[in-house]
């Protein structure tokens, strides 16, 4: 009986650690979700980026507006996906709570995995808002029948970006440069992942690098969903595989770098 109770308590703590602690960590990123900080960051910046990209795309005249709407709408999920997990670890460092956090016996995979979930949801939500905006402005046509598969594509892409954000956050355990890294990845995605530039316009080695980065297959899948082309499940499978590899890498880095940070007493470096 006691064993059952103990097991139940452990299971409840795990769930709380994943959902409640993860959500609270996410709220703390935006100073407890003040609309004045949350809306411009999560919605405002992607909106102006989308308008800029469509304006540039129309000037170039190589592709119709929907090409740029889809690319930039999906790129929008990278901001939440990359920065939220990365900052949630960096924020603990700046708040002076990282040492206390890592002194707990909590399961690291659950603790840090919980910080990815809100980023995935916010990222997918941001991309959905951008696509809805593009549709409302007449820049992209979304057939109602394509919505379920499109929603799945957004979630998978957001998951892949957030997994990459967790890798960046893990590196942030050892260094103070998580924000720097997240920025490098964010802007590199804009160049390499087919957001505004088709892979055929890039040199071969850059295109190969772009294909290996998170989000590239997700963007292609979203374009195919909207055009009714085939091959979407295969692309989403690749994107999921990249997400799984990145999560595995992040968990490995978290373990190794936590040990290294303890050994070098660098957890409190600000």
């Amino acid at each position: 009986m006691a064993g059952t109770l103990q097991w139940d308590a452990r299971s409840s703590v795990t769930w709380r650690l994943f959902f409640v602690a993860g959500w609270r960590s996410y709220l703390a990123l935006f100073r407890w979700l003040r609309p004045s900080a949350f809306i411009p960051t999560v919605i405002g910046v992607p909106v102006v980026q989308l308008i800029w990209a469509v304006h540039l795309g129309r000037y170039l005249g190589a592709y119709p507006s929907d090409y740029y709407v889809v690319g930039n709408a999906l790129h929008a999920c990278a901001m939440a996906g990359l920065f939220a997990p990365a900052h949630s670890i960096q924020g603990e460092r700046y708040g002076g709570t990282l040492t206390a956090l890592l002194a707990t016996p909590a399961n690291r995979a659950v603790m840090f995995g919980g910080r990815v979930l809100p980023a995935v949801l916010t990222g997918a939500f941001t991309s959905a808002v951008m696509l809805a905006l593009g549709s409302a402005l007449g820049w992209v046509h979304i057939a109602p029948g394509a919505l379920p598969l499109l929603a799945l594509t957004l979630v998978v892409t957001a998951l892949s970006c957030s997994a990459c954000g967790l890798v960046v956050g893990a590196i942030g355990l050892r260094t103070r440069e998580a924000t720097f890294l997240a920025n490098v990845v964010l802007y590199s995605m804009m160049l390499l992942c087919g957001v505004n530039i088709p892979f055929s316009w890039l040199p071969g080695w850059l295109a190969a690098l772009g294909h290996a980065m998170p989000m590239s297959q997700g963007i292609e899948a979203a374009r195919r969903v909207l055009s009714g082309a085939e091959g979407v499940p295969g692309l989403l499978g690749w994107e999921l595989l990249k997400a799984a590899v990145l999560v595995g890498l992040a968990l490995y880095l978290l373990r190794v770098l936590e040990r290294g940070s303890r050994a070098n007493a660098s957890l409190d470096d600000v």
Binding site: V48, T179, F180, V184, S188, L191
Partner: protein
């Protein structure tokens, strides 16, 4: 009274020079800022060249490279000026600095000057990158005008960044607004896409932005065409206007921040 004024000017100039040097040292030790000042213009230049070449658009390569450099310069200036105030706030230095007898404008001006100074480095490295990787000819139509336009544009961008960063004194969360202004200024200033392709009412807003004239001045001086001298003059005029507005706004924001007690908030 008359002897005190030159002495005060000398002290202020000395303070500006020391604060600029100190801020510059801080910036080059911040990897995020180094990314913004050095790597971002290269990423943007590569993106611009691949997009223009792939689409077959025949814009002069020098104009594309200059636009990309200015895009990077604006991003780094905007973030640099805002980050400086946020950093002071985090280090709990904003309150004592504002309480000190020196004007808040003088305290914040070196931040804009330092970020702008690094912008010159970003501009040079972008031109070099474009010449080496994208075979851009490094030829300037009017070298003297170009060398005049560079500092004028850099200071104009810095002053616009400082004007926007003034709000950060009052609102602790205003930093999140900084990123919001990155793309609109790229678009309104005619970076990569000419202002003439914007709707008419929007073009009127563009002409109130000093970077618009900076783009015209630099592009005109580098590839010919347009009237770079007038553009330099307009850029200077608008910079003076921003300076006056920043002085007024900072005085007001400082008073509001003191009375509402938000200076120490994070």
């Amino acid at each position: 009274m008359t002897a005190a004024r030159p002495a005060r000017l000398r002290t202020s100039a000395g303070f500006l020079a020391r604060a600029w040097r100190y801020e510059l040292r801080q910036l080059v030790r911040t990897r995020l800022y180094v990314f913004l000042a050095v790597l971002l213009p290269l990423i943007l230049a590569s993106m611009a060249f691949y997009m223009f070449r792939g689409s077959g658009k025949q814009d002069p390569p020098m104009a594309v490279a200059l636009s990309a450099a200015l895009m990077g310069m604006w991003s780094s200036t905007l973030l640099g000026s805002g980050n400086a105030i946020t950093r002071l706030r985090l280090m709990q230095l904003l309150e004592p600095l504002v309480a000190s007898p020196r004007s808040t404008f003088l305290v914040t001006l070196p931040f804009a000057l330092a970020t702008s100074s690094l912008g010159i480095y970003g501009l040079l490295i972008t031109l070099l990158w474009s010449a080496l990787l994208f075979d851009m000819p490094l030829h300037l139509e009017h070298p003297v005008l170009f060398l005049t336009a560079v500092p004028v544009t850099v200071v104009a961008l810095g002053m616009l960044g400082l004007l926007m960063a003034s709000a950060f004194i009052l609102y602790p969360t205003a930093q999140s607004l900084a990123n919001f202004f990155e793309f609109p200024v790229w678009m309104l200033s005619g970076m990569l896409v000419p202002v003439s392709s914007l709707p008419d009412p929007v073009q009127n807003v563009s002409y109130l932005l000093a970077p618009t004239w900076g783009v015209k001045a630099l592009t005109g001086a580098a590839v010919g065409g347009g009237d770079p001298l007038t553009a330099i003059g307009m850029c200077l005029l608008l910079t003076c206007f921003y300076l006056a507005v920043t002085l007024l706004l900072q005085r007001r924001f400082e008073w509001l921040a003191r009375s509402s007690g938000t200076l120490a908030l994070q």
